[in-house]
Symmetry: C2
Subunit: 241 residues, 2 copies
């Protein structure tokens, strides 16, 4: 034991950072075209990117996933049986229940998770404080890298990880399946409402410093900000229950 | 929209920060005396505090909680029916199942959560990278404050949030209750193993800069580091299954 120096250079390589911003920005529109984009997110992603000091990374608006895996958080050996970013129907779960489980079958409902990068620590702190204000209580700065920037994860505590079956053992009482699905949807929508709250909170502050290139892109493409506002997108099922 | 300045002073008020370190440090030993301390944590808390630039805040080694609440993450209106930091017995859950649920009864198993503060951003990044290396994949910097420091949360993805009952509806198939409890314990222990891995990872690097006051405290109290090493504390149930 003793004293060692510990100094990390926190200066951003802005050229590289900017290059990444444009790559991720273009990917949003490519994903949208091929139907890959989680559309509930679009308004929020655009909003963040209108600031010169922010870009967004892969994110999720909240989803219901059925996984066949030892643990609900397992990644490597997980086989995703079902995945949806909007409410499910009882029949869909009934169908899944008839399938054999190799390991264990879990249903995971998760709230929204937004990943983004800022070009300064000040910006990172500002975004974290906005996120917390909007109910994203588990948000944090994950890492720092000269090229990638200050990487943030904005998350809520919204989560259900429920065991359904293991081999032939069905843990979930089937006669209450309909009520169970109702609760899963309720949890999903709870998360979507937090997404909306984040949008409303961020919109009051961001952009602090406008990104002209992004603004031009939006204008030239004729993108209507109102049409991608999550309030309008989510209205289709936010009163689902 | 336009350009606003955004500058946050990131210099620590070290006198205040130090005062808080000593307060939290003393609280560990008070909590231990009155039986409040989550003992599985003790070794890790001491280890972090041996560094002059780190202090620990309220943390958790992982636990099994039964809550009567609308959602598993609800805090305000939650009534905690049961809470334990070590494996549970089937009979304990049987007893809980007989109790009426006001809202919904959820069983939540959570992995370890460590809160700590560092006096510099460099330290914060170093700890985050160690945590990620040890499998604490959801770790992040939560906030910054001149007096409180750089506040970190080290967490894993280990979590189960399972619906048990709502009113008179029992969602969990009672004939598999024993198997279910076994899985809950397996998940709890998975988290405890990650706690151990964090200890082993941190021990190789921390302290970078020794805290003489803390070292003196440990010496004068005759605290044996080996006796609070989580490897020894956890051995009692890490092979429980």
């Amino acid at each position: 034991m003793g004293s060692k120096a510990l100094v990390i250079d926190k200066e951003i390589n802005y050229t590289m950072w900017r290059k990444r911003k444009i790559e991720f920005w273009n990917r949003i529109w490519e994903d949208l075209e091929i139907g890959y984009l989680d559309k509930d997110l679009l308004g929020l992603l655009v909003l963040f990117n209108t600031d010169k000091n922010i870009y967004t990374l892969s994110s999720c608006s909240g989803r219901i996933v059925v996984a066949d895996s030892t643990y609900p958080w397992s990644r490597e050996e997980t086989s995703v049986v079902f995945k949806k970013h909007f409410p499910v129907k009882t029949e869909e779960l009934v169908e899944i229940m008839t399938k054999p489980a190799v390991r264990r079958m879990w249903v995971n409902v998760t709230g929204p998770i937004i990943h983004l990068s800022t070009s300064s620590f000040d910006y990172a702190l500002k975004i974290l404080s906005l996120a917390r204000e909007a109910g994203f209580k588990h948000s944090g700065l994950l890492s720092f890298n000269k090229d990638k920037g200050y990487i943030l994860e904005l998350t809520t505590g919204v989560r259900v990880s429920n065991l359904i079956k293991e081999g032939n053992k069905i843990y979930l009482e089937e006669k209450y399946l309909e009520d169970f699905v109702k609760i899963l949807n309720e949890v999903l929508i709870y998360g979507k409402k937090l997404l909306l709250r984040l949008y409303d909170t961020v919109e009051k502050v961001i952009p602090i410093q406008e990104d002209e290139e992004i603004m031009r892109f939006i204008e030239e493409r004729g993108i209507s900000i109102e049409s991608i506002n999550p309030r309008n997108i989510l209205s289709k099922y936010i009163n689902y229950l």
